[in-house]
């Protein structure tokens, strides 16, 4: 493994972390944010799933 490999692995890990966090939030919001239920505005999410607290 060279230095580029290490940097790429770190970048991939960071990307995966943010992707997992975003996916988790979307799951919590009941899918409404991804579909116009609240037009992407989590503060106005019609589901009382607690996703407002994350924003």
């Amino acid at each position: 493994m060279n230095a580029v490999d290490v940097i790429l692995l770190i970048l991939l890990a960071v990307m995966l972390f943010f992707a997992a966090r975003a996916a988790f939030r979307r799951k919590k919001s009941g899918g409404c944010c991804e579909t116009g239920g609240c037009s992407g505005n989590c503060g106005a999410c019609p589901y009382e799933c607690g996703c407002k607290k994350d924003e």
């Binding site: 580029v4 239920g37 037009s39 505005n41």
Partner: protein, 782 residues
């Protein structure tokens, strides 16, 4: 004679409203009361429902319901209001400003720091959400058909952090008819907002003021926002704001929410009345001199009779009294009257019915409309006919014409699909695709030059770039389809489709209103499922929810486009459109099945307002497209990215976690291979296809990214055209994604959510098997 027998173009006066229960109350609330004048405009292309002009707005209802309304024909046009309006000399009452209720700078304000909560209440399609967006700076979706908002939404007024405004679904009265109306009514009754902002469509003022009357009875600090005043004045109409303010006893502010005119003044007044808790000066609309005063005496007697119960139940007394007379079950239950009181009340109401010559509900509705007529006579000069209405009439001659409506609908939908899949969307897609390919090649070269570890190299190029990149390239198609759907929605055409399609939909057990969620389903199943809350019947709602997954959502587009590009590129638009049609036809078949076996009975009555056509707002359409694009990108870089990496890992290592050179030895091949036998009769028993379909449960686009990773870009050589056809049919019909299933669970419960997953998987399996069998018999097998 009945309304059903009225000829097109003829006018009549309503003499009696038959029927019973919530529907009859809804008729009365919509202004179909004895004495109201109606003009029959037209019948839908299939002869049912009919479109009426009443109180200056267009109402549709079915012949079966029209048969319950007795009329007396009158000659000539039905004027909306007597034409007696004079230039008003009314001085400004100054309500909602320091100086009327209390000297400026004094009063009894709420303590500092207390949140001023407001309910934004109004009829459907009167511009509540547009005003909410202006007030709060939010980006809520608005549309031009009744029932876009199906749940409450909150936000603080800009520059007023101490406030919280709740945008509620539109209602016609405080007698709940559909589940969205219950949301609004319960909010005002139970959450007890500090103030109400009642938004009134000034171009349709009589019907809108009906709700205002009931809100005033609730004795909550309130302001009336007269929206669309720009349209009224542009068409030669005018409203004596001071006079109306005096008669209603609350501040009245003319605004144009769409143009952000008058909104600052509205905010100032709303904050003032809520802060100082200035309640309406007028709550008693029954006149002792009107029609012998029977309703007046009845309401006041009952008001005294129930006062202690109403106070205990936390209900406004005057509001409770009128609801009790109407026979509102929920209010009666809350009041918990004893037998003696109930008897007394019944006698009082019976006496009123005898003296007034109308039944209780009609008498109360008549009392309210009598007051509204007084207000309008004194303060409103209506334009003869608005430009918007004239324009709508002209457009409707074609779009809802007897012989033109259905061909035009098919042509519009065909044009949308053609433009999306063959012209605009496809062109933009190939541009983006070449960009992604160039980026991918560049990244591959850079990784090779940097001598990166082969496993990491493979993860980035064959995993992330192949998987996520393949999905990203479909962004233009999805945005283009949403653009056209939002144009339909914003223009007001969707309400016409409901009108035109009602008779057809009734044959499969649905009401015309179900067409709105079904059309939204072409965009995404989740908002479609949520929008079924506008349907008044639980039966219609259930059937519509179960049918929405058959309307192929945009997330399935990448799957179709991917396979059609690889296998059937000569017939792209035809096969894409064919898949949509197959989804709709299967939905119709399923509806017949539901109607015959599970949900027996008739569809709910169709009573709907037809809004004027409006030019779609560029800002609104742009906002919606941006939200959709952003959402798609978020999905691609969250769920789909993770799924891609997981799939790549599972297909790159064996059970002992050693790297594999042949993916047939991988963990994925081992697990998916165990399930592949289920798909053998469908011709899809390749473990890679099974894996792709399973990943599609997370997000439909994942099917494509997973295939790209597992087949390494060589799908066309590994899969036969017949298997591709089977896969297209299976993808079209199998279980909706997890977000849609979760929305169904929220609306109908766990039982139905699980049921939908199982039923659609079985149906998809059967349909794909049939395609496979036919293909084999026709000699298309491998």
């Amino acid at each position: 004679m009945t309304l059903k027998e009225l000829a097109v173009g003829k006018s009549a006066e309503v003499t009696a409203v038959g029927g019973d229960g919530a529907l009859r109350q809804h008729f009365l609330d919509m202004g179909v009361i004895p004495g109201a004048r109606v003009k029959l405009l037209k019948f839908a292309p299939m002869g049912d429902p009919m479109e009426l002009l009443i109180h200056g707005y267009n109402l549709t209802l079915r012949l079966a319901e029209a048969d319950k309304i007795m009329i007396r024909p009158i000659s000539g046009e039905a004027p909306d209001l007597p034409e007696k309006w004079q230039e008003p000399p009314t001085p400004h009452p100054g309500l909602g400003e320091g100086g009327k209720f209390h000297p400026k700078g004094s009063g009894d304000p709420l303590p500092e720091g207390e949140t001023l909560t407001f309910a934004l209440v109004g009829n459907q399609n009167c511009g509540k959400t547009t005003l909410f967006n202006q007030l709060t700076g939010a980006n809520q979706h608005v549309g031009n058909f009744p029932g876009v908002t199906v749940d409450r939404k909150d936000g603080a007024i800009k520059n007023h952090p101490e406030t919280l405004v709740t945008d509620l679904p539109g209602i016609y009265s405080m007698s709940p008819y559909s589940s969205e109306e219950i949301v609004s009514r319960n909010f005002v009754l139970e959450n007890k907002p500090r103030g109400v902002i009642n938004i009134v469509d000034a171009s349709n003022i009589e019907r809108n003021l009906y709700l205002t009357m009931q809100l005033l009875e609730m004795n909550v600090p309130m302001v009336v926002a007269l929206n669309m005043m720009d349209e009224v004045t542009a068409n030669g109409g005018t409203i004596d704001i001071n006079g109306m303010e005096m008669m209603l006893g609350v501040p009245v502010i003319p605004i144009s929410a769409a143009k952000n005119e008058g909104v600052h003044e509205l905010v100032d007044h709303a904050v003032h009345v809520a802060k100082y808790q200035e309640r309406p000066l007028a709550r008693d609309f029954c006149d002792e001199n009107t029609n012998g005063g029977a309703v007046h005496r009845c309401l006041h007697a009952i008001r005294h009779l129930i006062e202690d119960h109403a106070v205990r139940a936390g209900l406004p007394v005057r509001f409770a009294a009128s609801k009790v007379v109407e026979g509102d079950e929920q209010i009666l239950k809350q009041l918990a009257l004893d037998e003696n009181e109930t008897d007394m009340m019944e006698h009082i109401i019976l006496q009123m019915e005898t003296e007034r010559g109308l039944d209780r509900s009609a008498a109360i509705a008549d009392m309210r409309f009598s007051f509204i007529n007084k207000v309008c006579l004194r303060t409103v000069k209506k334009p003869v006919e608005s430009r918007e209405h004239k324009r709508s009439e002209k457009i409707d001659r074609i779009l809802t014409g007897k012989y033109t409506s259905i061909p035009v609908f098919i042509a519009i939908m065909g044009l949308i699909f053609w433009l999306t899949f063959n012209v605009v969307g496809a062109g933009l897609q190939s541009l983006l695709e070449s960009g992604i390919t160039a980026l991918s090649v560049g990244a591959d070269a850079a990784l090779t030059a940097a001598n990166v570890n082969p496993a990491i190299h493979s993860l980035i190029t064959e995993g992330i770039f192949a998987g996520v990149g393949s999905v990203l390239s479909f962004l233009p198609i999805i945005v283009t389809l949403f653009f056209f759907l939002s144009m339909l929605e914003d223009s007001g055409y969707i309400a016409r489709v409901a009108f035109v399609m009602d008779k057809l939909l009734r044959k499969i057990g649905l009401s015309g209103r179900s067409i709105v969620p079904l059309l939204i389903g072409f965009g995404c199943t989740v908002p479609a499922v949520m929008s079924t809350r506008t349907l008044p019947s639980e039966r219609d709602r259930k059937i519509t929810i179960l049918l929405t997954p058959f309307m192929s959502c945009t997330a399935k587009l990448p799957i179709y486009a991917f396979f059609v590009d690889h296998f059937f590129s000569d017939y792209k638009a035809l096969i894409m459109t064919g898949l949509y049609v197959l989804g709709v036809l299967t939905g119709i078949g399923a509806a017949f099945l539901f109607k015959g076996l599970v949900f027996k009975g008739e569809a709910a009555p169709f009573v709907m307002e037809l809004p004027n056509y409006r030019l779609p707002g560029i800002k609104n359409v742009g906002r919606l497209l941006w939200e959709k694009a952003k959402d798609f990108l978020q999905r691609a870089f969250s769920i789909i990215l993770i799924a891609t990496i997981v799939i790549w890992l599972l297909q790159s290592f064996d059970l002992q976690l050693n790297p594999v050179t042949d993916s047939r030895q991988s963990i994925l091949a081992f697990v998916a291979g165990k399930l592949a036998f289920i798909m053998r009769p469908v011709g899809l028993d390749d473990w890679r296809i099974c894996t792709s379909l399973i990943s599609g449960f997370l997000a439909k686009e994942s099917v494509v990214s997973t295939m790209e990773v597992l087949f390494g870009g060589a799908v066309s050589s590994a899969v036969s055209p017949l298997s591709a056809a089977c896969l297209l049919v299976f993808s079209l019909l199998y279980t909706p994604c997890v977000a849609a299933v979760s929305a169904i669970r929220r609306e109908l419960g766990r039982f139905w959510a699980v049921g939908v997953v199982v039923w659609q998987c079985v149906l998809a399996w059967v349909a794909a098997s049939v395609v496979h069998l036919i293909g084999m018999l026709a000699g298309f097998g491998v």
